[in-house]
Symmetry: D2
Subunit: 322 residues, 4 copies
């Protein structure tokens, strides 16, 4: 079988390495190149191969039919342009092309929240892969927005906690084991996280005028995101899980459960798992949603692979063990 | 110096052991007895002493001038009565005597949120020590409630995460290391946690009619609680931290900081540390509060010691290194 | 394709659950039953199925062509007999049938250190699956013993550390998260661990008269064993890794590396990874060996599956992603 | 009471911060300066003070009666000289002045294994504070060496595992939380660790000709060292713990216990806790020793404070809560 040559920019970070692992197991893809910035020239074990990272500027972009860019925010957009000029399609994991947070002047491209935007992704040459927190929150909110269930003018509260791989593979003192273990912290206080803008812009495109308050937290775990979401609703659905069960019926990467999901249920898997409950003891009807994803899989590399499969006309689930 | 004899019921759990350690270091207290239920007869290292747990029913209640009860919810109230009958004063760490969650028919006793209820505690024979989550949330909300700043009819959102010692020293499969590590979960979904009732009842007593939605989470850390609280306010205070700085001026166990606190800042210390921020990007004014305590110290044994000191007419800070 | 029906006794423990997961992914096996002791009747998620544990005494042993027993030491041997009487072949993960630690009167059966005892396993009806620590130590020592390299009369020192799943899925206070995190302890002091006897008996069968001193330790990680082994040798091999590279050439589940392996290299994989170094600064020649396995995979369920494949005449690697 | 002015070089690392905390609580010391290299100008919370790190070259050495140097190996010796020239006494926590690993040309100064070398330390102007691993191993071996119990020509095996603060507060990718959690690794393979030389030189000075094989490991914990030591002995002592109980009788910072110590027993305390066992099942008599210390306290700052107290003519235990 002919295999599609794939390139990875920013391959030495956590998302990049996850992409390399997925490509290594993909039945229809082969690695054309893996490039890195500061870690150029370093070697890495990828499955049973040992590869050497090329420098980003030496990446043979034209050798790839599709390029994943896991470059840092602000750096990625220019390389997306170069890859396109070299004839490659692109799935961009940075925030540079996303709604709400995109660089000024960046082209408008489909936002690859796959289960919601499948058709737009299928025909695209470039896809903006959603942020990890935004993926969890927006997959959770989309069925409510689509049914007009979010109370008009409501404030949606999103508290989420992420494993430290979400902060990247950068040597920082505050990410050392001895600093993170036995700790837990909120950050981006005051609703200032980049993903808040991303969520707001996309939720508006779903037709909701709700305000969003998003507070991210850093967990002493390697991977995983748990989002706890409160949504004032116009009225409580008769069957509380019906909006999600209906919208995501047959979706291979969405799991709606009666029990509350936890990180352990989704780690190393390309799924979102979600439950919801009516909120007791309050005057106005509200739903509480708990959604869990692996930040590196459904929140990054896994969803990027769903999008790449669609862009290349392959089966969306290829190379992604459910 | 004459030392006050102190008894501990439920001494073998995490809060009980913390109490034993505090009593051991207290300049004006001496341990009269330490009693346990299922672990009666076991030995424990307390500072440089080795003690043996008496059975609860063998505890010489009359030997103590004050008894701490860290017995389980539902069991504690009866022993509080026995201790009172034997002439001892009591600080009860269970929920049996607390507002909102107390046992039917239990006596009304002061709620020992020390910084808020100091005068009531000082004259009491029995004090209901607040729950760990409730301590963090209510110390955070009290200054806003006292100033009428919480928007009328508002919904206050409290997300909190606790270390596993909050779940007690009970051998449960779901609390084994291999189950908790690398995981994070919400529990008591739908606003059903016992502390939600406790918070609601106390907040009402502060004069606020706000709804409360409380979602607790289990962290893969041993100790600590971080609460992330959103409060719709009538208007934003000019100086966002002023309500807390004013109300808690001079308090030895409250720290108001510009930087966001994390568990590490408060671990093994009897303090609450707090910051607040205005929430950006929303139509109605809101404050975001981050409050951190050690669930076993300020959230249990430490606050209980503050209360015991007051009940006994001692300096409130005795035996509590700030 | 016809699938071989497989039963699991002791299915609710950590090794049992790993076996269930492997069976679920095995192209030539199907689950006939999963039985448990105290957790009978409980449900478990296995891949995308939800199963209910039968009681051990209700397990339909005759429905299985092969039974894995992950029952506790001392209980397993009797059920191995029952399964044999019902016509099933057996891979026993307990110590009941192992050399050095077997129950009195238990039958002599092949010791399933697969890479060393493949031919004996292939023709067997019952296989004693090695202990987790013994697997790491004996796979490391076998090539030296086979070449007569261990110094006569030497003392071989084996220090090993295991993740807590090695202690089983039993609710014990000393295995709670808050007790294990941030701790590290040695146990079975004085060379008294059951695996020390097992290692000694098997090493003697390899023709070495060496003394063994084995010290196990408990790590604050979920899974993995790292063994640090010192072996006085008759003389240093010219190429220090040659004994292992030669003996294990072509082995799919053995990785000999120049770099020191760590738990992370082998977690969730059915491999042993090993390196060795000559010891500097000592008068008598010694080798230092570092060997890593996943205690639940190569140290338990994975090696059991290798053995089961051989017993059933299947390809040894089936269902075991390298 | 007059307080002695104390300076700290290398104050921003883990050992430096621990020194600052000890000085802050010391009844007879006051901080004259705290200097740092790359982190000069940064602020740090020390107890209830906030301090700013001076640059090393701006440190007012002459303002201090005693300087602790926690500078990196290779850099420290020169600053020790400068501090001496400015009239300060010095406790040097680097390896620059230690036996076996000292810089060429560095002066011979007392080796501050306090319980063993108290008299030499008392009169010294400069003390070389032992390495963390060396402290655990040598305090464990000293009583055996002093009694001639180590078998002549024996090989002593030292396996030890340390929390990550032992690797320093340097931003390194391999020390990030997501790299260290759920992992365990050996390093300095082949008996090449700097502390092996240090242990060897000091053990020889105790009169033993034993070979030493030392293998350090990195634990996924913040702090603590556990050493597992095997010592071939001329004969087993009648009372296995007698050598330590005799030698360390009355020592405030040494705890000899029947039960095996673990990290948890010593964390944040300036003690070594130790037990020993005869080794079963071997032909030649051997002792197995388990010793635990906190690498930052008894293994660094705590022992340095013992030494500083002696150098200054203060009570050795001052500022060191047992």
């Amino acid at each position: 079988m002919h295999k599609v040559p794939i390139g990875v920019l920013g391959a030495s970070g956590y998302a990049g390495r996850e992409l390399l692992a997925l490509i290594g197991r993909h039945p229809a893809m082969t690695l054309a190149f893996a490039a890195a910035g500061t870690r150029r020239g370093e070697r890495a074990e990828v499955g049973d191969r040992v590869i050497t990272f090329a420098a980003t500027e030496d990446a043979p972009l034209g050798d790839a039919a599709l390029v994943f860019s896991a470059l840092p925010h602000g750096e990625s957009a220019a390389w997306v342009g170069s890859a396109r000029a070299a004839g490659a399609k692109v799935v961009d994991l940075s925030s540079d092309l996303r709604p709400g947070t995109g660089l000024a002047g960046a082209p408008a491209v489909p936002y690859g929240l796959t289960e919601v935007a499948r058709d737009a992704v299928r025909g695209a040459d470039v896809v903006a892969n959603p942020g990890c927190y935004a993926t969890a929150a927006l997959l959770a909110l989309a069925p409510l927005a689509a049914r007009g269930l979010i109370a008009p003018g409501a404030t949606v509260t999103i508290n989420a906690a992420s494993g430290v791989t979400g902060a990247g593979f950068t040597p920082r003192r505050d990410l050392l084991f001895a600093e993170v273990a036995e700790d837990f912290r909120a950050y981006a206080l005051g609703n200032t996280h980049r993903h808040a803008s991303e969520m707001r812009a996309v939720l508006a495109s779903f037709g909701s005028d709700a305000d969003l308050v998003f507070t991210p937290h850093l967990l002493p775990v390697a991977r995983g995101i748990l989002a706890t979401i409160l949504v004032p609703v116009a009225e409580l659905p008769h069957d509380v899980l019906a909006p999600w069960r209906e919208q995501y019926a047959g979706e291979p990467f969405i799991e709606i459960t009666d029990e509350a999901p936890s990180l352990r249920d989704v780690t190393r898997r390309n799924v979102m798992r979600l439950t919801a409950r009516p909120v007791a003891g309050v005057r106005r009807p509200m739903l509480q949603i708990i959604a869990a994803i692996d930040n590196l899989m459904k929140g990054a590399a896994g969803q990027a692979m769903q999008n790449a499969n669609l862009v290349l006309g392959l089966d969306e689930t290829m190379g992604l063990p459910s």
